[in-house]
Structures are given as structure tokens and as C-alpha cells.
């Protein structure tokens, strides 16, 4: 991989910092009073998600991080690794629990995920914003309740637990917003 000069800094740029792949969240050129110019940068560590404030001397170079986001299909999990495939190249990659994180409880086979690859390996996996999953278990609701006032917990086919309206029954398919983990709608079959 190449390097980037501070003059090339902009948000979204992927760089190596402290031996970790990071993305630049914000960059501001600063030339204080009559002092030396520098870049004031907010960077997010892509492994930990932590955002830190750093300064770089103007003209300094940093190593570029070989990080790219690709859309991939989720194939299956063997319990230890989750396997994904690039639909165009048919190339397959596998990521561990750390990389898959929360996405594990939302995705099922054939779902299209956004996989962030670092040196070719999954660093982060983002589930689709909305997934449709069948309800595996929930208490039987009260007949006639269609508003879904209080709600009840429901276990989905992937094992995730979400609050659903009282009228949702076992076997029905619901739409969930994976960013909030909230019930969004019932899917008519």
C-alpha cells in the first residue's frame, strides 16, 4: 500500500495509526498565529470503533490502510467463522465473532451484508439495514388487539430477541431495523 500526505487528508480516508486500520472522520488544516502548520484530525479505529483526536505535522506522510467496503452475500456459519462471498468474483472470505459482532444475530443465509475488508479479511460486518425474519417463539397474544400497545418479547429464527406488538404470532415474518434492533412491520406472506 502507498502513503498519504497530510494535504490529501479528507473524511473517509483509510490510514494506519498505532498499527490499526483507521478512518478519518474529520480533518482541519490549522496554521496557528505564526506557528507551524498542522492537521487536526479525528480518526476512528476500525477495530475498536474508538474515535481519537490527533494532530499531524503538515507534509507528514502516513501509511494507507488496505481497507475496502464490499457488498457480499452471507453463506453460512460453522459456529466459529461466518463465511461470505463476493457475488461478482465468487471470492469467499470468513470472519470471526469480533468481526461479525452484532450482525450475527440478524443475518441469515443469502443476506447481502456490507463487509469491510482489511488486507483481504473481514474487519467489520454490517447487516442490511432491514431484515425479514420469522418469529420462532413468542407468547400467544390477546385476540382482537391490533394496535400493539405494550408489546411482548419474540425470539426470531436467528436467535435475536425483539419487542413486537401483541398481535404478532409464531411463524409470522417481521421486518426489523438492525440499526436500532426494533420491530418495524409485519410482512404479509
Amino acid at each position: 500500500m502507498g502513503t498519504y500526505n497530510t494535504s490529501e487528508f479528507k473524511s473517509g480516508l483509510k490510514i494506519m495509526f498505532d498499527n490499526s486500520p483507521c478512518t478519518i472522520v474529520e480533518n482541519e488544516f490549522v496554521r496557528p498565529g505564526k506557528g507551524p502548520a498542522f492537521s487536526r484530525v479525528k480518526i476512528r479505529n476500525l477495530k475498536t470503533g474508538r474515535v481519537i483526536d490527533k494532530t499531524f505535522k503538515s507534509g507528514e506522510t502516513v501509511e494507507a490502510a488496505d481497507v475496502m467496503e464490499t457488498d457480499m452475500s452471507y453463506l453460512y456459519s460453522d459456529g466459529e467463522f461466518w463465511h461470505f462471498m463476493d457475488d461478482e468474483t465468487f471470492e469467499q472470505v470468513s470472519g470471526d465473532k469480533t468481526a461479525v459482532g452484532d450482525a450475527a444475530k440478524w443475518i441469515k443465509e443469502q443476506d447481502k451484508c456490507t463487509v469491510t475488508l482489511w488486507n483481504g479479511s473481514p474487519l467489520l460486518v454490517a447487516a442490511p439495514n432491514f431484515v425479514e425474519l420469522a418469529v420462532a417463539d413468542t407468547d400467544p397474544g390477546l385476540k382482537g388487539d391490533t394496535s400493539g400497545g405494550g408489546g411482548k418479547p419474540a425470539t426470531l429464527e436467528t436467535g435475536a430477541v425483539v419487542r413486537v406488538p401483541l398481535f404478532v404470532q409464531i411463524g409470522e415474518v417481521i421486518k426489523v431495523d438492525t440499526r436500532t434492533g426494533e420491530y418495524s412491520a409485519r410482512v404479509k406472506s
Partner: protein
């Protein structure tokens, strides 16, 4: 043929901003006419450049003929030429001047920008600050709250450090404690660099909104082209203006001593050499003018692009310029 639709030819600022800029220039010109300050026009090109280690000048060549060419620099500010006019007896003068600095690009910077620079014969720093308040109130068309505060007061209030007595080690320790151990590599061993870093990182962003700060009495090591006081410790008769955390202007009671000026240039050139930077010719015309005699005066440079940003609450300098460097 280039695709017409993708060539970024239009201006980045709105038509309203073009008008706003024109109005601002009109306000400035009327203001100075009423005060009998003369508008001048000095060349952008010069045989000499600023020796300042943190300023990088553009250069170009004048072709006289195939065998002879002359290296010329684009001004980083109109200061040197204007001081030659002052030494020639021009009296108080002002100029709206294009200025150029390599490598300065960002939300508040464009390599080519516009300065309002003015010099008042017989003025001390306090007189110039008073005049500047008057001008700013006209520009913003409202009563602005303003405060004059010493560099030391601000520095001590925010960091507990006395800027006149501190060391580079102490400043870098402070930066490290704030999570910026890399400050040392940015500032080197220069105390003035360290002070500028700490000020811009930990003090400037925390300044109160909607209040114009006139920061006065700089440490002697940050004198630049300012006179020094006869106090102990010595202080530079320099001021900077901050508004909504934006650095807006820098002014001095001007150094008139040609020997002292030459020494400062020589120090700066030595510093440039140490940093591995290109040497630049010091302005012999300015030194000769100072030798002839610069009247006691104060001068200030105010960034008009930034002033426009503040007047219109614009997020980026691109929003107030017709064609920033990417479209130049």
C-alpha cells in the same frame, strides 16, 4: 472533449456573497476615506520573500532574455512594500491586497487570499484596536461585544502556564497530558512554536462565542515584526484578533530599528536552514527604508475572506470565494 457537465466551472459562492463582498469593500473604502487614510497599490511580485520559517512563498521567473531570468516571489502579505511607502513619507495608508501562501488549504485557508492591511502613523496598539472595533461594527452593522485581554491572562486561565516563563519541555508535557504527544514532532525545540500549538489546540477553540477578543502583550519570542516593551519580562507590542474562535487579524506596533530587523531576519534564515528549507533573499529594500527611518506607527492585517465568513456565518472559505484553488 471534456464532458461539459462535470467541469467544475461555476463559482463556489452564491451571488449574494459576491454582493456582500462588494459591499464590504465599499464599507472599508468609505471608512478610510473619512479618516483620510490613503489607499495604495503595491506590487504582488517582489525580489525578496518573507524569511519567516513558517511561511512558504510562491515564486516565479521574469524572463528578460534567453540568458537572463530574475526570480520573483509572490507576497505573503503587502507589509514590506507598504513600510517602504511609510518610510518615504506617505502618511497613514491601507490596501486590499491579494496574498499568497504555499500549502495553506482548508476550511479557513486558501493559498490565494485577500488581506486588508493598514498602517496608522503615530498610533500605538491601543489606538489601532479602537479603530478596528469601529470598523468591525460597521462591517457587521451591529454593536459587537469585545474584550482586550493579555496573552498571559488567556494562557494562564486555560492552561495554568505562564507563557513568559515557560519552557518548551513544559509546553510539550502539557500537550502530552492532553493526549497529543505528537506535538513535540510538530513544534521542534522552538518555544514560540510550542506556544502557538498549545494556544490553537487548547485555548482558541474554547474562546467565548459572539465576543471579539483582542489579545495583546505577546511573549518576546513571538514578536515577529513588533516592537518590544521596556518592561520586565519584555513583551511584544503585538495583538491578534479572534472572533468565534477564528483568528481574524494580526497587528504590531511596528519595529522601526533597522539593525534589530536585520538581526531578526538573519535568525529566521538560520532557522530555515536548520529546518532544511530553501533560503530566501531578505528584503534589502525594506532594510534600507528602515535605515532611512520608518515613522512610529502601528499596522494590522485582517483576513477579508474570514471576515466575510464570520459576517455570513459561512462554514467554509469556499463559500465566500468565487473560485477557490481547486477551481482556479
Amino acid at each position: 472533449m471534456a464532458k461539459q457537465g462535470t467541469t467544475p466551472w461555476p463559482p463556489t459562492c452564491s451571488a449574494a456573497l459576491l454582493h456582500k463582498r462588494a459591499e464590504l469593500y465599499q464599507t472599508i473604502r468609505t471608512f478610510f476615506v473619512e479618516k483620510s487614510v490613503l489607499e495604495v497599490d503595491t506590487p504582488v511580485l517582489s525580489s525578496a520573500a518573507s524569511c519567516d520559517v513558517n511561511l512558504d512563498s510562491f515564486s516565479t521567473k521574469l524572463m528578460k532574455n534567453a540568458q537572463s531570468e530574475r526570480l520573483l516571489y509572490l507576497q505573503t502579505s503587502p507589509e514590506f512594500a507598504m513600510k517602504r511607502l511609510l518610510a518615504s513619507g506617505s502618511g497613514s495608508i491601507y490596501q486590499i491586497a491579494k496574498s499568497f501562501r504555499q500549502g495553506e488549504s482548508g476550511r479557513f485557508h486558501n493559498p490565494e487570499f485577500t488581506l486588508l492591511e493598514w498602517y496608522r502613523v503615530g498610533f500605538a496598539v491601543a489606538d489601532l484596536i479602537e479603530e478596528m472595533v469601529e470598523l468591525l461594527m460597521l462591517c457587521f452593522n451591529e454593536n459587537l461585544a469585545f474584550r482586550t485581554v493579555t496573552y498571559q491572562q488567556l494562557f494562564q486561565q486555560h492552561t495554568g502556564i505562564n507563557p513568559h516563563e515557560t519552557s518548551q519541555e513544559a509546553l510539550m508535557q502539557y500537550a502530552t497530558a492532553q493526549g497529543n504527544p505528537e506535538a513535540a514532532s510538530i513544534c521542534g525545540d522552538s518555544v514560540s512554536n510550542g506556544l502557538d500549538y498549545v494556544f490553537s489546540q487548547y485555548i482558541q477553540p474554547g474562546l467565548k462565542k459572539n465576543l471579539v477578543y483582542f489579545v495583546i502583550d505577546y511573549p518576546a519570542c513571538m514578536a515577529m515584526l513588533a516592537k518590544l516593551s521596556n518592561t520586565t519580562p519584555q513583551k511584544a507590542k503585538r495583538f491578534e484578533v479572534y472572533f468565534n474562535s477564528v483568528e481574524l487579524a494580526n497587528g504590531y506596533e511596528e519595529l522601526t530599528d533597522s539593525v534589530e530587523q536585520k538581526n531578526r531576519f538573519s535568525d529566521e534564515l538560520r532557522e530555515r536552514k536548520k529546518e532544511g528549507l530553501d533560503g530566501v533573499p531578505m528584503d534589502q529594500n525594506l532594510l534600507a527604508a528602515l535605515e532611512e527611518g520608518l515613522p512610529q506607527c502601528s499596522g494590522v492585517a485582517l483576513g477579508l475572506d474570514r471576515l466575510l465568513m464570520l459576517m455570513t456565518a459561512s462554514k467554509s472559505i469556499d463559500d465566500v470565494m468565487a473560485f477557490p484553488i481547486d477551481r482556479a
